[in-house]
Symmetry: C2
Subunit: 282 residues, 2 copies
């Protein structure tokens, strides 16, 4: 039976209704489907409304990530695990899919490591060290929990945060903000999924980010190095995720659009940037 | 093996840390424990902060309930399912308990009916009819889902909303605000639990709500009618819940305090108002 992990981004301009309807049909067709979602744009809006505007950490290499203090983490959980996750679960339930929402801390589903010291470059170009950020990276996924749900006819809807663990002392565990694309990749690998689809408000990896006609159709054609080089900003994480999934045994990853007509079927048919193991035999 | 359902209220003045620590020890002692929680006070605060202040519907009989329009439901989900539920799950994980948070819509855990027309009395004493409120009552709990989690070593942490269903058409399903005390009672009955503890910021049913020394210790002593009569406001729902649990086969319900030293052990030892089947043999 085909197993597919689909990540739907939380960026601006993604209309969830149509893709969730398509996802419902996929589930009803018998595919073992797992949904992973973000919520970054809505988190920015709610953070502003709650008087705790989002701030971002810029690394020396130019990578931006959300500054996650305790208040931000709580807002993050309100949006990701509350409003967005339950909104998706409700929508799927109305389509006859027995959806069940979990965050990565529930049942210790996604475990990982919290970042220790983060080097941040401020507006004047000075580097500072941030030690109290509640962010990190997922390293493992409890496939048994997801299979328990899938085997009993329930459809998992997964979202950050994850649980950072420090050795064997649960007392040092803490919820952390993690990249949902890479969490989806770890999940797909843990499940031995056939496909990982990373769908968002961009059509795939673009050679020129401002020109949608420069879409790189596949790593097989362009070569993985060209794809890596073309990916900037948040796309970097998607490329890393697509590669991680393949390295973990997933047969195919696609970075594609969450919008348009039948975006899931389109991505499965190759719309977007397709990653396949044969693309990089070295 | 003993099965206990513990509801911790979401009212003002409840300190969650100590009772969650005690709950963790209970789980580690081998009890099959399920936690249900509210979030009403925090929802009021966040509603204010988000510029959508809470309003309440007063029924002709004087009962007050939260007016739940779509925006309120989303705020409700942010607080109950996001901030509060994930905060509790994180706390329990740090205590070595493999907690897993679910709302009543997840997996269709709590199903019920949405209220049709609600009669509301306004400040001038006029009665109006509200037809679009997203609130209702839990009628069933999927015990199989909870047992699936308990049997695999996971501890369920449950919270509203629930899923209202309308006949066989999932398209008419909708998330609804429900009373968490009564949801806990339905859960305890569905599980065949030994005990239901309803712990909040009051010590139990008081004959005089302003005087804590007038605590009614048990239905066996005072008679169920006296307990029902003494209960006003939100306590009415707790008494209904305590009775519903007994009617569903639960051996004992206790309405007690969530604060103080070891509030779970205290309630189990009889602190608060104890409901037992023998109290009302008629």
């Amino acid at each position: 039976m085909t197993t597919i992990v689909i990540k739907i981004g939380g960026g601006e301009g993604i209309e969830l209704g149509p893709i969730l309807d398509e996802f419902s049909e996929l589930v009803k067709s018998g595919v073992r489907a797992v949904l992973v979602h973000g919520g970054s744009h809505e988190t920015n809006l709610v953070s502003e409304q709650l008087g705790h505007p989002p701030t971002f950490i810029k690394s020396p290499s130019g990578h931006e990530s959300r500054r996650t203090d305790r208040t931000t983490l709580e807002i993050f959980e309100m949006v990701y695990c509350g409003k967005t996750n339950k909104g998706i679960v409700e929508h799927l339930q109305t389509r006859g899919v027995n959806a069940l929402g979990l965050s990565g801390i529930d049942g210790g589903l996604w475990k990982g490591k919290r970042k220790g010291a983060i080097r941040a470059v401020d507006d004047e170009g000075r580097t500072t060290i941030i030690r109290d950020d509640l962010s990190g990276k997922v390293e493992s996924c409890d496939a048994a929990l997801i299979n328990l749900l899938l085997d009993s006819g329930r459809t998992p809807v997964l979202t950050p945060p994850a649980l950072a663990v420090d050795g064997d002392d649960p007392g040092k565990s803490v919820a952390i903000n993690v990249d949902a694309d890479r969490a989806a990749a770890i999940t797909a690998a843990a499940l031995g999924a056939d496909e990982l689809l990373l769908l968002s408000n961009v059509p795939g990896v673009l050679a020129d980010p401002s020109d949608r006609s420069t879409l790189i159709a596949s790593t097989a054609e362009a070569g993985i190095d060209a794809v890596r080089e073309a990916a900037g900003g948040r796309m970097k994480n998607k490329v890393l995720a697509a590669e991680e999934a393949l390295n973990g045994g997933v047969k195919r990853s696609v970075i594609g659009s969450a919008n348009g007509e039948n975006p899931i079927a389109a991505a499965r048919a190759g719309a977007g940037t397709v990653f396949e193991p044969t693309a990089n035999p070295a």
